[in-house]
């Protein structure tokens, strides 16, 4: 079910590349764990972000999750729709609810991320842990 044209992190972000621009969002697994998203905080356009570092937060009623960037680079665009309609993250995490577009400073960083199959296996393992 996870799009195969994306790469994934252990913190449950996805990134989809288009030239030097990567579009980043959180995965369906992540939105499910969070529950109803009520607020999203995103960086300013032009902000420099670093791979593995938090660049924003997603909030549900009683939890705050940081969003970790899969890659380093500069924020080229943010999804302004989420300001008024944070629920989009629950409805369409891999589509309309993308968070930011990043101009990557090092294109090779993407290669170290999981592909869809590896991510699928990773969360299957996680689900097994929590139900045990």
């Amino acid at each position: 079910m996870y799009p195969t044209d994306c790469r994934y992190t252990k913190e449950h972000e996805w990134i989809k590349m288009d030239g030097a621009i990567g579009t980043i969002g959180i995965t369906d697994y992540a939105q499910h764990e969070l529950g109803d998203v009520v607020f999203v905080e995103l960086p300013q356009v032009g902000a420099k972000i670093e791979a593995g570092q938090p660049f924003g937060t997603v909030e549900s009623v009683k939890a705050v999750s940081e969003i970790y960037s899969p890659v380093s680079g500069e924020v080229a665009e943010t999804n302004s729709v989420l300001g008024n309609e944070p629920e989009k993250i629950n409805q369409d995490p891999h589509g309309a609810a993308w968070l930011v577009k990043i101009k990557l400073s090092n294109l090779t960083e993407v290669n170290s991320l999981m592909d869809a199959a590896a991510y699928q296996a990773y969360i299957a393992e996680k689900q097994k842990e929590t139900s045990a």
Partner: protein
């Protein structure tokens, strides 16, 4: 012991049910050497009658029978007995923070009403449901301004309550904030030229109080313009909340930090009171403190819940907007009930009476030879007078006639010796004002 609802036989029965033989076994987890062997060396036990007797004794050691002209951040206003009667309903008094909304609708709706009243008074868009007091509200407002601007300089008027500034200094010491103070002019107002010269693009906030510590009203529009001109926020503290019944609200400010003691809370030797932070909607996620919001239940009925809780310490922990947990909910409720009783007309009338009494007292004081008004700016119910002798000496004489006179400003402002801050409210009678004027006149005539 009358507060403990178990007989010894019930205690033993419960102990047996647990499977223990002695009460000491309940504490087996505490290493033997730390279990207290001796009884505590503390006074008591006292019966209810003795407790009342004890505190009546303490009351007799205080200022009963004296007429006070003190204000300076704590005001004697009339409080309706209705407020205290309602506050003491067990449902308000003995309930916890309303986390379980279904059985806390009373507290939640009252908070929502409080938030509304505070917005109406201050001209701001949102208000929290209380901070500890005016001093910590102001401090939290400054910390909030730092988060919003990511800047470090804070320009604070010396006319802000000295104890508020002291609290701010304590909190700011271990942050990156740099607190700088600026002075006042002959009007007793914040020195706008000094602020204009001091601002730059690293200023997070310009902070004033109105009425300020000298009782003088500040000029919000000009202050806000200067602050906004350099991208800083304008923070306004209000220590005498009744002033908002007649004085221009700080609508131009970005954050208002208010002390609500004047709304139905007794002076009580300094607390508990109720601080408030009110601000613009766009800043709400950086505002500390609890918030109640309106919503609906699963059948579409109106109800209230605590909301935007992700700002708070129990969720965000080290990244919270503040460490505040317990606030001053019951004091905020007192203010809510008090303001509902007063209502639109009552508050206006009360504020008007304060202005009238102050104008009267000021004019009377000026008739005393050698006594003059220290600042020219507009005042609400407090004003500074300059005397030809030390305020301490005058007060010593006034005490002999059972009057607590002006507060000497030299303690906080070394350059303002011989100046005293006088406060009159709707509770001060014309006769009391005349006695004060006569008393000061007499004190000044005593040969040195």
């Amino acid at each position: 012991m009358r507060y403990l609802p178990k007989s010894d036989s019930e205690r033993r029965e419960m102990l047996r049910a647990i499977g223990l033989e002695s009460f000491d076994q309940l504490f087996q987890a505490i290493p033997e050497q730390y279990r207290l062997k001796q009884t505590l060396s503390v006074p008591g036990p006292l019966s209810e009658m003795e407790i009342i007797e004890y505190f009546r004794g303490r009351s007799a050691e205080n200022s009963r029978g004296y007429t006070s002209f003190l204000g300076a951040g704590v005001y004697h206003h009339h409080r309706s007995v209705v407020t205290d009667a309602l506050l003491q309903r067990g449902e308000f008094l003995t309930s916890y923070t309303p986390y379980q909304a279904e059985i806390s609708q009373g507290t939640l709706q009252a908070i929502f009403e409080f938030q509304t009243l505070m917005c109406q008074l201050t001209g701001q868009e949102v208000s929290n449901a209380s901070m500890y007091d005016g001093s910590t509200a102001l401090t939290e407002a400054v910390l909030m301004a730092e988060r919003l601007t990511a800047r470090q300089r804070v320009l604070v008027a010396r006319t802000v309550h000295p104890e508020y500034r002291q609290v701010l200094a304590t909190y700011a010491k271990n942050t990156r904030l740099r607190i700088e103070e600026f002075g006042f002019t002959s009007s007793g107002q914040a020195d706008l030229d000094a602020i204009r010269k001091a601002v730059d693009d690293n200023v997070a906030a310009v902070v004033v109080q109105s009425p300020n510590f000298f009782g003088v009203l500040e000029q919000f529009p000009a202050l806000a313009e200067i602050a906004h001109g350099c991208g800083a926020l304008c923070v306004v503290a209000i220590a005498e909340a009744v002033s908002l019944g007649i004085a221009r609200p700080p609508a131009e400010a970005d954050i208002v930090a208010m002390e609500a003691q004047s709304f139905g809370l007794p002076p009580s030797y300094g607390g508990p009171y109720a601080g408030v932070i009110a601000t613009k909607e766009k800043f709400v996620r950086q505002m500390p403190g609890r918030l109640a919001g309106q919503t609906t239940d699963n059948q579409g009925r109106r109800g209230f819940v605590l909301t935007l809780a992700t700002r708070e310490q129990h969720i965000r922990r080290e990244k919270a907007t503040s460490n505040i947990c317990t606030n001053q909910a019951l004091c905020a409720l007192a203010a809510t009930i008090h303001l509902c009783l007063l209502g639109k007309r009552g508050l206006r009338e009360q504020a008007g009476q304060n202005v009238a009494k102050a104008q009267f007292a000021l004019a009377q004081m000026e008739t005393i030879p050698g006594v003059r008004r220290a600042f020219t700016g507009p005042v609400f119910n407090e004003f500074v007078m300059e005397f030809p002798r030390s305020v301490k000496m005058i007060n010593a004489e006034l005490l002999k006639s059972k009057m607590i006179g002006p507060m000497a400003l030299g303690r906080f402002y070394p350059e303002l010796t011989k100046r005293g801050l006088v406060c009159v409210t709707e509770t001060t009678t014309r006769e009391e004002i005349s006695r004060l004027v006569d008393g000061i006149d007499r004190a000044l005539k005593i040969p040195v």
